[in-house]
């Protein structure tokens, strides 16, 4: 029953990091781009300036971390939602592959995206 080779601490670390980073930063993005700018509280930044900002190495790292870790947060949470909420624990192996696999695919796409801005 005790299983030393369990990878849960690894997935949980990504889950925790993803939860923290998305809880802190995504509301800021939503508030700025979704509310403040459309309501005219701030001037619309010009496109070139934004691209310039996004190309900065630190911005790329930030965007990559935000995308990837949020996906792992989702993956871990969704895995347990399927286990407990939908009572699908017997499909454990498929669920694990689907959830973390999706996050890994999303991470690769995110990496390509941030490198190609």
């Amino acid at each position: 029953m005790a299983n030393k080779k369990n990878n849960d601490p690894f997935w949980w670390t990504l889950f925790g990091a993803g939860g923290t980073i998305s809880a802190f930063f995504i509301p800021i993005h939503v508030a700025l781009i979704g509310i403040a700018i459309p309501l005219g509280w701030f001037a619309m930044p010009d496109y070139e300036g934004l691209v310039e900002l996004a190309r900065h190495p630190l911005s790329r790292i930030y965007l990559f971390a935000l995308i990837s870790l949020s996906l792992f947060h989702w993956a871990h949470r969704f895995r347990f939602t399927l286990y407990d909420g939908l009572q699908l624990k017997h499909l454990e192996q498929y669920i694990v592959v689907f959830c973390y696999g999706s996050a890994i695919v999303g991470t690769v796409i995110g990496l390509i995206f941030v490198l190609s801005i």
């Binding site: 369990n6 601490p9 690894f10 997935w11 949980w12 670390t13 925790g16 407990d84």
Partner: protein
């Protein structure tokens, strides 16, 4: 005339019932009476066949836990007046097998407690002439909260994960593991990790948090589990980065 309140008590006598059912009893509604007093009134005056556990009547022994109006509580600490106007539904603790009426089978819980090795583990036992294992008040305060558990199992009846996954070691047992892990005299963390970082251990918890809501002793098992997840993850990474290290 004395006012009364109705209790709907879950009954199950395995020798004659195929399924549990609810039976109604009217008991006097007295100030300062707790649900356990009402059950004792039923047993003494109405129906001597009703079975349930209790002992201390003061929130210490942990044996009188039941579902009262679907919430896990100590019946000796739940006043009838809190449950007005009634009827009050009294049922055995959720997710446990029922032996008879309100009495549940605690064997699984007892095994889980043993699995976390809830005793002081030291690499070398000090010979008696060398004296006690001393501890400062600050060191004691580190684990004090986790030592308040009375094994009432309310947290297991509140935890949907413990209900769905019989393998999950569960809130009180993990809090108990932390009670020893945080004890300055203890060196057993590694042994407990073997039991708790794997399948059915701390990472099965999805932080529902109900265990801490219902705990009558403010043990905060959910907090104990979260702290364990953080330190467990740190130890896991250390063992990957420095595999030759001693974690």
């Amino acid at each position: 005339m004395e006012t009364t309140i109705t209790l709907e008590v879950q009954r199950y006598l395995p020798e004659k019932d195929t399924e549990p059912y609810f039976q109604e009893y009217k008991v006097p509604l007295r100030k300062k009476w707790v649900v356990l007093d009402a059950l004792n009134y039923i047993k003494d005056n109405i129906d001597g066949t009703l079975s349930y556990r209790w002992s201390c009547r003061m929130g210490v022994c942990g044996s009188c836990g039941m579902m009262v109006n679907d919430k896990p509580v100590l019946t000796c600490a739940t006043f009838l007046e809190e449950c007005l106007p009634g009827p009050i539904r009294v049922a055995p603790l959720s997710y446990f097998d029922v032996i008879r009426d309100l009495v549940v089978n605690t064997d699984g819980f007892m095994d889980k407690l043993k699995r976390v090795k809830p005793w002081l583990i030291t690499d070398q036992v000090k010979p008696v002439p060398e004296g006690e294992y001393r501890q400062t008040p600050e060191q004691k305060a580190e684990y004090d909260q986790y030592s308040m558990c009375i094994n009432c199992m309310l947290c297991y009846a509140a935890c949907p994960v413990a209900g769905l996954e019989p393998e999950f070691v569960g809130p009180a047992a993990i809090a108990l593991a932390q009670r020893y892990n945080y004890d300055s005299r203890d060196e057993g963390r590694k042994q407990r990790n073997e039991e708790l970082l794997g399948e059915g251990g701390i990472y099965s918890c999805t932080l529902v948090g109900e265990c801490s809501e219902v705990c009558p002793k403010a043990v905060d098992p959910a907090g104990a589990i979260q702290r364990y997840k953080v330190s467990g993850a740190a130890e896991w990474w250390k063992s990957v980065v420095v595999p030759w290290g001693d974690t």
